[in-house]
Structure formats: C-alpha cells, structure tokens
Symmetry: C2
Subunit: 188 residues, 2 copies
C-alpha cells in the first residue's frame, strides 16, 4: 500500500528547483487561476503544505515559474546566436527562430508564456515579470542579431503567432486557414 524506501531528503534549494521544473507542466494546461497548488505539489512529489514553505504564496510561485521559463528561452537563443555568430541579421534571426521552435516542441514552455500574458492583465507581480522577461529578450535579440527595428518586431510577432497556433491546436487541423497561419513556421 505504501513504499518503504527510506525518505531521501533534499536541500530546500534543490526542492525549489524541482518544483520550478515540474510546475511548468502543471501550470501549462490551465494557467494561473485554473491550476491548484495541490496539483503543483503532486507534480513535484511533495505535500501541498510544503509548497508554502518553499514559496510565500501562489502568485510568487507562478512568478518564479514564469521567470524560470524566460531564462530557458534566453539561454536557448544565446546558444543559437553563438552558433550563428558573424552571420547576417537574417541568418542569426533564422537560427534563433529555429532554436526557439526546437525548444518549444514540448509545448509547455510556450503555454506558460501565453498564460503568463493572460495573468499579467490582473496580477501586478506577473505583469512585472512578463515585462522584464520580454525587455531582456528584445534587447538580447537586438544586440545578438543586429537586425533592424522591423526585423526584431517581426521576430516577436511571429513568436506570438506561434502561441496562437499552439493554443488552439491549429497544427492538428487540415484547412486552408491553418495552412495560411502556419506557413513557413518550423515545427518539430
């Protein structure tokens, strides 16, 4: 009925990281308001009570998850930019876009960004995290690619289009309108 493997304690810091990693999957489906702290706890394999020892409340937990995602996205773009170093802006941006497409082939990272955007409307701490996340992302892409204002803007506009496609599962529908929206967008 119940495993007798002796309990293996982690440091609080390790546990916090586990929670950040696993909570992505929990929040990805139903967002900030739709996900319970009990679900987050279950995904991390700890009790719901202990979530509140690791994070002060649900909002700051979600903020930490959102920041964690932005860090991963940035790291992925940095790797891509490093590989394409010295190329034209177009080449670097394409490499970054491709790296992003690979990163989010597991949709959770992208869904968190979508849900963070939605929660940002009413939750000030989330809004601040999203602002900072995109601020750094935009500045990094600008610096690393050397692209024009318009190119940078298009880069992010296409990213947002990806959010739409994934959230409504447009890639599972065969129709002219889905082909129009998804044209030229890499998918892994």
């Amino acid at each position: 009925m119940h495993k007798d493997r002796p309990r293996q304690l982690s440091t609080a810091e390790e546990r916090r990281e586990t929670v950040l990693r696993t909570a992505i999957g929990a929040f990805a489906a139903r967002g900030y308001f739709g996900t319970t702290t009990a679900e987050v706890a279950k995904a991390a394999g700890i009790s719901q009570a202990y979530v509140y020892r690791l994070f002060p409340n649900k909002e700051l937990l979600f903020v930490a998850v959102v920041e964690h995602c932005f860090v991963q996205v940035r790291a992925s773009l940095e790797r891509a930019a490093a590989e394409a170093r010295g190329g034209s802006p177009e080449v670097v941006l394409t490499a970054m876009g491709d790296a992003y497409a690979k990163l989010i082939s597991n949709n959770d990272l992208m869904l968190i960004q979508l849900h963070a955007q939605a929660a940002a409307v009413s939750e000030p701490a989330v809004r601040e995290a999203v602002r900072q996340g995109y601020a750094r992302l935009v500045e990094y892409v600008r610096g690393a690619s050397g692209g024009s204002e318009e190119q940078i803007q298009t880069f992010f506009a296409v990213g947002m289009l990806c959010h739409l496609i994934v959230s409504m599962g447009a890639d599972e529908v065969e129709a002219p309108w889905t082909r129009t929206l998804t044209a030229g967008i890499t998918h892994y």
Copy 2:
C-alpha cells in the same frame, strides 16, 4: 437601504444579450477561470442564479461571450473592407488594421481573445469556438483583401503582437524595447 423602483421585466432573449455585452468587461480582467459567475451576474444587474437560467453552465456562457466578440471583430473588419473596396491588398489590409485598432481601443474585446486563447488549451468547447472564430476571420480577410498568403499571415501575427503589448501594458512603459515592439502600431 434599497431602491423601490418597480422591477422591470425583460424577455429572456434581451437579458441574454445584456449578459453577453456586460460579461465581456467581467471576463476581460481575469479570464475564464479567474472570473466568477457572481461577477458576471453583478455586471449584468441580475442574480447569480438567473445566469444559470440563461446559460447552461459557465463554460458555454464563456463560449457565447467569445463568439460574440468574434462577431464584433468581423463586423468591424467588414465595415473597413467595404470602405476600402477596390483598393490594393495593402490598402484594404491597412484599413482593416486601422479599424481593428479603433475597435479595441477599449481593450476588453482584445483581452477576451487573449483569455479565450488561454482557456482553449484545456476547454474543448472554447477551443472549438476560437478555431471557428479565427477560421472565419482568416477566410474573410483573405477574400476581402485579396492579399498574399504572407500578407494575411503577417496581418494576424501583428494582431497577436497587439495582444502582447496590451496584456503587459507595454504602451505605458517608455523604453527602447517597447518602442521596438509597438513601432508602427496605431493606437487610439
């Protein structure tokens, strides 16, 4: 303590329309999971119980609100297209983009679309409504503008970028990264 203005009855159909109109404002702030049926009822000036006589449940209420928004967006694009009839695809698309910008200068319509996108991930009925909404929108824009696949795609990508800008309030922040994202996007 309590207004004695005699109760004025409406038909159920009128009330349903009132609810659809006022619920937009209620759902705009906190989305599907974050908004209670009591808040929707208050915005419409009716009791929470009566919401359930007008709509079978919360999900279908939200779906009706989302569909109502898509109808409004489409109507707005149709008006713009009619005025720019006979122009080049660029001219028609610009007119449509401008009409959209005007329509959503009250942010609620756009926020509903964002929240609908988020809820579409986990609520099948919402997903279906969002798919149908964009399907019709894409086909309408294609037909009315005669633009290329790429132009249509860009039109919607820019629309999604608007969602990002509004949701995080990027237009209230003065910084290079916000100027890059918002460049050339009309704002009323």
